[in-house]
Symmetry: C2
Subunit: 409 residues, 2 copies
């Protein structure tokens, strides 16, 4: 949006400037007015006026800092109020369901998680289970009118526009209208956005985790399936319809075994949890506990466990080499089970990258474990739900009763 | 860059608005003032003033359109002058060198190309050959002060910052300072930008070819090597240092043959020209003419030629399935030799995508041949060279003698 040279469009400018302030406060937490001036490029007087709007709306508290003995007036400290604007985030993993209330500034107000057996459930059953979980969140009933929206992370291939899950083999889902089902079950006035859990984990690591402020990031997560979240030039890669980042289904072994997606030799068939467990002599559906058992066996020098981890590291490296050559990333983040396996596989992965990635991008990339671990999908879902507010906080400011999409609330 | 609410920064606004107009005229050619108003969001009076600056600088001609019998004053027609701002573009392919002068609005003023034997040449030899080629361009000597810069496309892995080629196996190059060598050989005052030829071909198809205005595009080109150019959310994917898009080195066949990059079973080893020719019973270094011979043999029903094309189509489909799952693109553009092979391989490619890509992104993607063919790298290099001007035309406007970086010209 450009502005004309005569009278500029003040409503548009105001909206952009409010958004800029909201993003800084949400990303970084409390800031002084001087820091806001430096970070947004706005004038001191503009900052003062705009902060006033946030304060009136109960979104921000402002307090004068203690003088530090430096000359001049101390700069007022501007603090986002986590209770002033809240989102609900939900996560559907293969073996657990999670729910959290997250406040402005990224504060986790409450978080609950329950195990679920990795058996097939209908979307209605899962929606009901999530509703039960939500009701256990401290502050949920009180948060009512301050809830901006709902973000949902799911282990599946998701169409962003309406939260339609075209495929989630590890939930037994194909063509499931998850967004619609949740809208019926939850408060119908709340805007709901659904995305893939690995995409959201990558977003969470970018905003709150090991990749803060990063530009080009490959996030790989895995439990039963293998997912990826890609950050390109600082923004999540979604593709045309939000299906991007399904790295688990890159063909890596044309002579490999059949994948649940219907193809053959997908990356997931070589590095997925089932393969690790089978090679280590455990039942392939043993889940998180069985993976931990394999890691303990490797610590104790059990050959089958070490060979299984070597296999996963080998194929992890092969697939990552392709992604390094395609994306030239700065950082590879191993998340989910791969985060736990990191110390056991990183040497093998590095060796395969040395062999198979082009020297120039290879030299630039580092491999690190996820910082957020199992909470990454929930935190990413919260970021997703905050996005409309951060992009246009003006809509929420003038009169808090006129929140769009909350007519039915 | 945001503007404050009080006095907005008029220099910044002016620069952004001039850029917006320059981009529209460069991308679309002649436009009426009304169309510029609609496309830029600027007011009619702002457009009038800004166009005046372009006219004064000799970059744009403005003429009143013929009345069309519709009421009201006819809107003036604004036309970029191709001779008003010119870039030099150069392309280093395995079997040819090319040079072109391209004018504002994308007009090719002249283009020359010479075959080169696919033998190894030093960077100095190639720079000299390019200089000889440039001197044959009509209008080169006269264009002098109106040359904005030089864009260079090369079949190699390029660091964008300084045009350093870390690897171009098909030229026999490793760690070659191409940017520096060209700066020494050409007019030393000209800014030179170097990028990978497939990346630039993708950019050309996005701006001038089969993918105009597209958002998510996978461009694959091949001759001896296989390159890729990726457009993500409307912008070229470069990665951290410009090495992105090296799809030819995705590992697709762990039991495959050694690749010139040092790895094993890269995509290039299965779909590169050498493999096609070898399988079809031709010398693998036969080049473009030998590929054409294979296509003629396939037309005549020669079994070895058909089997070779089937092999390439099969592996092309496998690799593209991975890219579809990772990137969720709208369009796959087959360029270079693959553009010529398109009618012979498209059915096989589509079949492999059906088998191996996830259903949801598979349904959205179309496969098309390149529209620009062999000219794509040169046209993309021209776009690269135009970029600083399009981003900040203000720098070139106030006084044409103060062109930055032309001190030595």
């Amino acid at each position: 949006m450009l502005l004309d040279e005569g009278g500029h469009r003040s409503a548009t400018v105001r909206r952009a400037n409010l958004s800029s302030i909201a993003r800084e406060l949400h990303a970084r937490g409390p800031l002084s007015r001087s820091e806001l001036v430096a970070r947004t490029g706005l004038t001191r007087s503009a900052i003062r006026g705009l902060i006033g709007e946030f304060v009136s709306a109960g979104l921000v508290a402002e307090e004068r800092s203690e003088p530090l003995g430096v000359p001049g007036r101390p700069s007022a400290r501007v603090e986002p109020d986590p209770e002033g604007a809240v989102v609900l985030s939900l996560a559907i993993a293969v073996d657990s369901l999670g729910a959290a209330l997250v406040g402005f500034g990224g504060t986790i107000l409450d978080l609950v998680r329950v195990d679920r057996r990795p058996e097939r459930s209908s979307v209605e059953e899962i929606a009901d289970d999530l509703l039960a979980l939500v009701s256990r969140l401290d502050g949920w009933s009180a948060a009512g009118p301050r809830i901006l929206g709902v973000g949902v992370a799911v282990v599946g291939v998701v169409r962003r526009a309406d939260g339609f899950v075209s495929m989630a083999p590890n939930l037994g889902w194909r063509d499931v209208p998850l967004g619609d089902a949740l809208a019926r079950t939850l408060d119908p006035g709340l805007p709901i956005t659904v995305a893939n859990e690995a995409d959201l984990s990558a977003l969470a690591e970018l905003r709150r985790g090991v990749a803060i402020g990063g530009d080009d990031i490959v996030f790989i997560s895995g439990e039963v399936g293998v997912g990826g979240g890609l950050i390109v030039d600082g923004k999540p890669l979604t593709g045309v319809a939000g299906y991007g980042g399904e790295v688990g289904h890159i063909p890596v072994n044309p002579d490999g075994v059949e994948c649940r997606c219907g193809s053959i030799g997908c990356w997931e068939t070589e590095i997925g949890e089932g393969t690790l467990l089978r090679l280590a002599g455990h039942p392939p559906d043993g889940g998180r506990e069985a993976v931990d058992a394999v890691l303990r066996e490797a610590d104790a020098g059990v050959a089958s466990a070490m060979a299984a981890l070597e296999h996963v590291g080998h194929w992890l490296g092969i697939g990552l080499a392709g992604l390094v050559n395609v994306l030239d990333p700065r950082l590879i983040v191993l998340g989910g089970r791969f985060g736990r396996m990191y110390p056991y596989v990183v040497a093998t992965v590095e060796r395969e990258l040395d062999r198979r990635a082009l020297a120039a991008p290879r030299e630039l990339v580092r491999i690190v474990p996820s910082a957020l671990g199992i909470d990454a999908p929930l935190l990413g879902a919260a970021e997703l739900a905050f996005e409309p507010f951060l992009a246009g906080p003006a809509t929420w400011l003038p009169s808090r009763s006129e929140i769009p999409g909350r007519a039915g609330a």
